[in-house]
Symmetry: none
Subunit: 217 residues, 4 copies
C-alpha cells in the first residue's frame, strides 16, 4: 500500500476513467519533458522517466508503446502549443509587412526552446517509426489552420511555414546549448561560429519574407 503522496499533487492510485488516463498520460509527458531539458534523448532512460513520474516502468508502456512514441507525443504536444501561441499572436496583431510578420514569428518562438530541441530529434531518432506519418499529418493540419492567418495567399503561406520549420531546425542545430557548444564561448578564436538563435532566425525570416514580396509583385 505505497503512499502516493510523494508527488506535487495527490493523485489517484489508478487511472480509471478515460479522463484520468488522459491526465496520467499528461503527467508522463510532463516528466519526460522535465528530464529532456537536461539530458539528451539517448541518455534518457525510461527508468528515469518512470522515476520522475513516480510510476513503475511497466506503467509507461500502458500509455506509450515505445520510447519513441512517447517522445513523438511530446513533440506533438509542443508543436500544438506553439501553433496555438502563434495563432493567438497573429490574431491579435494582424501583421502586414514582411518585417512585422518576421518579427512576430521570431517572437513566437521565444520560450519554445523545448519544442525546437525536440524537433531536432525527429531526423535522427524519431523519424524511423511509422508513427511519424501520423505526426506529419498532424503538423500539416496545424499548418493549414495557421496559413490563412498570414497575409499571404494560401500556398505562399504554407511555404512560409515550411521555411520557418527548416530555419528553426537549422538555427537550433547551430545554437543548441550542448556542453561542447558552451565551451565555444571560452575560445575567442571560435567567436565567428557563435551565433544567437533569435537574431539569426529573425534575419532569415526577414530575408525570406521580403524576398517573397519582391517576387510576387
Amino acid at each position: 500500500m505505497p503512499s502516493q503522496m510523494s508527488g506535487q499533487v495527490t493523485r489517484p492510485a489508478r487511472a480509471r476513467s478515460p479522463e484520468e488516463k488522459l491526465v496520467r498520460r499528461g503527467d508522463i509527458l510532463r516528466a519526460a519533458e522535465r528530464l529532456w531539458t537536461t539530458t539528451p534523448y539517448a541518455d534518457l532512460s525510461m527508468n528515469q522517466v518512470a522515476r520522475e513520474v513516480q510510476l513503475a516502468k511497466g506503467t509507461l508502456y500502458l500509455y506509450f508503446e515505445t520510447k519513441e512514441e512517447l517522445f513523438l507525443a511530446l513533440l506533438s504536444e509542443h508543436y500544438q502549443a506553439w501553433f496555438t501561441h502563434l495563432n493567438t499572436l497573429l490574431d491579435e496583431r494582424q501583421p502586414k509587412t514582411p518585417d512585422e510578420v518576421a518579427d512576430l514569428i521570431t517572437e513566437s518562438l521565444r520560450g519554445y526552446e523545448a519544442m525546437r530541441r525536440l524537433q531536432l530529434l525527429l531526423g535522427g531518432v524519431l523519424e524511423r517509426s511509422e508513427l511519424a506519418l501520423n505526426f506529419r499529418r498532424q503538423v500539416l493540419s496545424l499548418m493549414q489552420a495557421t496559413a490563412p492567418r498570414l497575409p499571404y495567399p494560401y500556398d505562399t503561406a504554407m511555404r512560409v511555414l515550411v521555411h520557418t520549420d527548416a530555419l528553426c531546425v537549422g538555427w537550433q542545430h547551430l545554437t543548441e546549448e550542448t556542453p561542447a557548444h558552451r565551451t565555444l564561448l571560452f575560445h575567442p578564436e571560435l567567436r565567428p561560429l557563435v551565433v544567437d538563435f533569435e537574431q539569426e532566425m529573425n534575419m532569415s525570416l526577414r530575408a525570406l519574407l521580403n524576398y517573397l514580396q519582391t517576387q510576387t509583385s
Copy 2:
C-alpha cells in the same frame, strides 16, 4: 561524388607505410560511409563497420580511438571535400550578383548528400565529445579560406557561410530520405510537406543574399 566501386580490390595484408595506412584509414571511412547511408548512427555498430571493411574489430581502433572519432573524421572529410569543391566553383565562375552566388552555392551542394546527412549527426550525437572542438576549429578555418572568395566584405561573407550551414541542416532535416519520409510520397494529402532540397535551399539563399544587398546599400 565518390565512386562506389570499392569492393574486393586486392589489398596488402598489412598497411606498413604511412601511405598504406592512410589508404586503409580511407577504406574504413569509406565502409562506414557506405553503411551510414542506410543505417542511423546509433544502430551502426563498430562490428558492422569492421565486417564491411573486412577487418577485425580491433583493427578499427588502430585507426580511430572511438566510434565518435571515426564519424567525426568522416564528417570532417566530407566538409573539406565540399569546401574544396565550392572554392573551385567560386574561383571558376566568380559570381557577382546575389542570384549568381545563391545558384552557385546551391549547385555546389549537389552530390553532397552524404555530407548533409552527416551534418545532422553533429547536434545529436557527436557534439558532446571534446573532439568536437577541434572539428569546429577546422570548420572555421575552412570558412575563413572561402570567405574572401565571396563578393562580400569578410564579415558578411562569414555570415553568409554560417547561414548556409544552418539552411543546409534545416532543409536536409526536412528532406532526409528516411523510410518514413519516403512513404510521404504515397500520401497525396501530405503533398504540401514534400519539398525539394535544392529548390528550397536555393530560394532561401536567394532571399538571404538579396536581402543583404538591400540592407547594405
Copy 3:
C-alpha cells in the same frame, strides 16, 4: 560448511518480497561460489555466473552493481560466517592456554577453505574499489566482537586476530589447491615445499600465542 545441494530446486519466477529477493541474492552468491572454486576471479565472467544461476546476465546487476561488489559480498558473507563459527567455539570451550586458543582457531578454519581463498582476492583484485572501505569496516567490527572472547587484553586480542588474518592468507597462498600446486605431489624432489595448511597454521599460532605469553609476563 554450507550444503552444496543447491540444484534445480523449483524457484519462483520472480522474487517479489524482500525475503524472496534475499533468497535470490543468495542463489547468485552461491552460484558464484560454486564457480569460484574451480575458476580464478579474472577468468570468471558474469555471463558464467548468470548461466550457473540460470538467470539472465542483466538480472545479476539487479542484485549487485558490479562484479567486484558481487565477490566482495561473497567474501563478506564468508567472513561473517567464519567469525560466527569462531565465536561459538570460543563461547563453548572458553580456551585459556595459548595452545588451547591456537588449536581452537586452527580448528575453526577447518571447512572454511572458500573464505580463505576468497581472502586472497582482496589484495590483487578487490582492494581497489571504494567498496573495500566498507568491507574493512565490517571486518573490523567483526573482530571487535570477537576480541573480548579471547583470554587476552583487548588490544592484544585484536592483534592476535590481525595476525590470524595474515597467517591465514600466507598459508593459504602456499597451500592453495591450484592445478600447478597439485602437480607438486607428483614430484618427490619438491616435497619440502608441500605443506599442510592446518598443521603449519597451527604451529604459527602456537608460536605466536606462546610468545605473547612470554612477553607479557
Copy 4:
C-alpha cells in the same frame, strides 16, 4: 633506420650473441619491474612494457613466451637477489639466538618490496601455468642453499624458510600500498587495521623462532 639513441644507454639494434640477448632480456625485465611498481599486473599491458624498453611488442615474445612467463621470470630474479642478499647477511653476521635470526631476516626484507609484491601475484595469476613447476624447483634450490647457513638442523631450517615465505606473503597482503589501503589512514576508526610490515613480520618471526627453540630443547 630508426635511431636507437632514445634510451639511457646506447644499445645494439640487434642482439646477436647469446650475451647480448641475455642483456636484452634483462632490459625487458627491468622495464617490467619499473612499471610494476606503480601499476597492478592486470592493468599492465605488454604494450606498455614494450614502450618502456623501447622495443616492439613482438620482440618481447622473442624473449618470453607469454606475459605470465615474463613476470614469473621477474619474480624469479627477485627471489634470487633476495636470497643472495640474505646469504650475505647470514655469512657476515652468523646470528645465533632466535631474536638475532629474526632480526636479520626482517632486515633482509627491507628494500625488497618489489619481491614481496611479486610474490602475491603467484597465487592469483601466475600459479596457473606449468612454468610454475620450474619456478618452484628454483625456489627450492635457493632455499636449500640457504638452509645450512641458519643455526638450525637442515629440516628445521627449511621449515623456517617456508614459514618466512608464508609470513612474508601474509603481511605483505595486509600491508600492500594500494590506493584503497592508503585511504585507511584517513579513517581513524579503522586504525586497528593499519599495521607496519616490518614490525609485525619481526614479531611473527621472533615468535616462531623462539617457539622452535622451546620445542627442540
